[in-house]
């Protein structure tokens, strides 16, 4: 294994994640979907959590049900994403002229985000997520208003959606469906952070996921059922195709579309459902942004009130007069 000389590395012998013994007497119950096919999980979104950044947001989908038994391995997956936006700021001197805002998106999973420990260096899947996110955001930001400047959108996934259900063991035979939900969360969080940073956008962009399940399993429904916001741990091995969209509701535009798997004849329905999921998410996004703006206005009013009064509170006079 290549050692990273800038970080502290694993002990020379190499370590392995623990293997859990099967419980003889208890049968583990797989989590099931208790919400309706067109119902989204509850989510939490808040902006302005990182004061040192121009804009920031925190996005969370809490676990659906409580842990059934006292097990160490989590049965339900949750999603926690923080996003910070730095900029717009001037490009370095040696950079070529750019008439538009140069947007760059980084997505990184924390080492403890998933069941299998992740490294510190971004791997190919994280870079791919970053590229997807960048295309989703580029269609929203009005880049012409910020020539010669750059903007960094940095997302850290503190807890990622599971790819499947582990059956109490440490291994999950993942098919990579969890990453779709992560991307949708990243899009929504990034949109909220961009607004928090005050970067001009044409609309709020929100991410939505839909999936085709049970394709070819039930006799009467050959094509399967389309559901909104699938949690992969609840549909272990049932998902046939999934779709992520980045959707601008008020303009009715899609800036990013990613379909994985074979949806067959249901592609159109799948995309429509993903758009519906994105519209549901947008309501939460709009509320979070509205709350933040109201808080900001309230603060500004308070400030205006205090500056009108005497300013002895913090000891020093707050203004310096320079005369020419």
């Amino acid at each position: 294994m290549q050692t990273d000389r800038r970080r502290l590395n694993a002990p020379p012998g190499g370590t392995a994640p623990p293997v859990f013994a099967a419980l003889p007497d208890t049968k583990l119950q797989r989590p099931t979907r208790s919400r309706k096919p067109d119902e989204h999980r509850k989510l939490f979104l808040r902006t302005g959590i990182v004061p040192s950044a121009s804009g920031s947001a925190y996005y969370e989908i809490p676990p659906q049900q409580q842990q059934q038994t006292a097990l160490l391995v989590p049965q339900h997956s949750s999603l926690k994403i923080t996003c910070t936006v730095h900029g717009p700021r001037p490009l370095p001197r040696n950079a070529a002229f750019s008439p538009n805002l140069l947007l760059s998106a980084h997505v990184k999973f924390a080492p403890f985000a998933t069941r299998n420990r992740r490294g510190y260096v971004r791997d190919a899947s994280e870079r791919d997520l970053g590229a997807h996110l960048e295309t989703a955001l580029r269609g929203v930001v009005i880049g012409e208003r910020f020539p010669k400047s750059g903007c960094e959108v940095v997302l850290t996934v503190l807890e990622g959606e599971e790819d499947g259900w582990g059956a109490g063991g440490a291994e999950v035979k993942g098919e990579g469906w969890g990453i779709m939900t992560v991307l949708a969360g990243c899009i929504t969080a990034a949109s909220a952070a961009l607004v928090d940073a005050g970067i001009d956008c044409v609309d709020l962009v929100s991410g939505g996921v839909a999936a085709v399940i049970d394709a070819g399993r039930r006799g009467d429904q050959e094509d399967g059922v389309v559901i909104l916001d699938p949690a992969p741990s609840e549909h272990d091995g049932e998902i046939g195709a999934a779709c992520v969209v980045a959707y601008l509701k008020s303009r009715d535009e899609v800036t990013e579309l990613w379909i994985k798997g074979d949806a067959g004849a249901q592609v159109q329905i799948l995309i429509d459902e993903a758009v519906k999921a994105a519209s549901l998410v947008r309501a939460v996004l709009a509320d979070a942004v509205k709350d933040a703006v109201e808080a900001k206005i309230g603060e500004a009013e308070d400030d205006a009130a205090t500056t009108g009064l005497a300013k002895e509170g913090k000891g020093k006079s707050k203004e310096v007069v320079m005369t020419g």
Binding site: N9, L23, I49, V73, T156, T323
Partner: protein, 332 residues
């Protein structure tokens, strides 16, 4: 001024502009008052109040989120198994218990600052010198304070008696494997003093760490763990060291006499103060029998403004801080 009669209009700067243009004089003006108050509203020796949440990450054996003002740090502890047979150069019998953790490298702390926590640390680059230094300081502090007991990390196996054993010998207990702890520290928001916050996050995460019950399965020749949360054990951390950092602001310069310079010690500096001050002191206090807090580590870097008396005051404040933290750490 063409005619020189009209008075030019005054240029009024807001407080933020003044702080950005001339941070040094701005801070000095605050500190020179008879009752010095720092720009952030704290007095000279006031620390920020920490808040700690533990156990919020589902994929870690132990985790903590520590907030110190606007600095927020997440720490996750993840345990993996290092088989004793995989160790390239096993330490001899004479290695003391205290050295074993260090010899085997069972603790792997890494501090990641490039999570977009501040504009100075953007991702896409290798870890900065600050991040590397922080990781190393945490590692060396974990080792010098002997926080982790090697016994807690051993996975033991009692070998069954075989025919060629002497009958009067008891059954032999061998160490089949060790738990290696990956301590991943992610800075979510940075507003000064990352070391204190990171260290607090590390110790709170270690305190909440639960290792599963593990045993050697001779048939499958591997280590198996019990998935039950009731069959876990924690780490014995009887004595928790606490770090306190101070920044020293000095008006001294190479062009002035040293006696003319004034200096102030600022406890728990925020990001703005850290940028202006070049000298820092970090004191780590741990318990002694008297409940005062003995100093286990003292670091000072940059500048020469702080003298013996001021250093003594820092140490005293660090001991007080240690007592305050005991309540926070043991309470939550």
């Amino acid at each position: 001024m063409a005619n020189g009669t009209a008075k030019p209009p005054g240029l009024a700067f807001s407080r933020e502009t003044f702080a950005k243009l001339t941070p040094g004089p701005f801070l000095q003006a605050h500190l020179q008052q008879p009752e010095p108050i720092r720009p952030n509203g704290r007095s000279l020796d006031a620390f920020r109040t920490p808040t700690i949440h533990t156990g919020s990450l589902s994929h870690s054996n132990g985790s903590a989120v520590v907030r110190l003002g606007d600095t927020a740090i997440v720490c996750g502890v993840r345990a993996e198994i290092l088989l004793a047979s995989d160790i390239p150069h096993p330490p001899g019998e004479d290695t003391s218990e205290d050295d074993l953790v260090e010899r085997l490298g069972l603790l792997v702390p890494n501090v990641e600052l490039s999570t977009g926590c501040s504009p100075g640390h953007l991702p896409g680059n290798p870890p900065s010198t600050v991040a590397q230094a922080l990781s190393y300081r945490i590692l060396s502090l974990l080792h010098t304070s002997n926080l982790i007991n090697a016994d807690d990390l051993r996975i033991l196996y009692t070998e069954p008696a075989s025919e060629d054993d002497l009958p009067d010998e008891g059954s032999k207990v061998v160490t089949k494997a060790f738990w290696a702890l990956y301590i991943d520290v992610l800075c979510i928001a940075l507003d000064g003093n990352p070391f204190d916050a990171a260290w607090a996050a590390v110790i709170s995460a270690l305190k909440s760490t639960q290792l599963p019950k593990a045993w050697w399965d001779p048939d499958r020749e591997m280590i198996l763990c019990s998935p039950l949360a009731t069959e876990t054990h924690g780490l014995r951390l009887d004595d928790i060291p606490v770090a306190s950092t101070f920044a020293v602001f000095s008006t001294g310069s190479a062009l002035k006499q040293r006696s003319e310079a004034e200096s102030w010690v600022l406890a728990d500096p925020d990001g703005f103060e850290e940028d202006v001050c070049s000298e820092t002191v970090t004191a780590v206090a741990r318990s002694d029998d008297g409940g005062v807090g003995s100093i286990t580590r003292l670091e000072k870097s940059g500048g020469g403004a702080i003298g013996k008396a001021a250093m003594g005051r820092c140490v005293h404040m660090a001991q007080q801080r240690w007592r305050e933290w005991q309540g926070v750490l043991h309470g939550g």
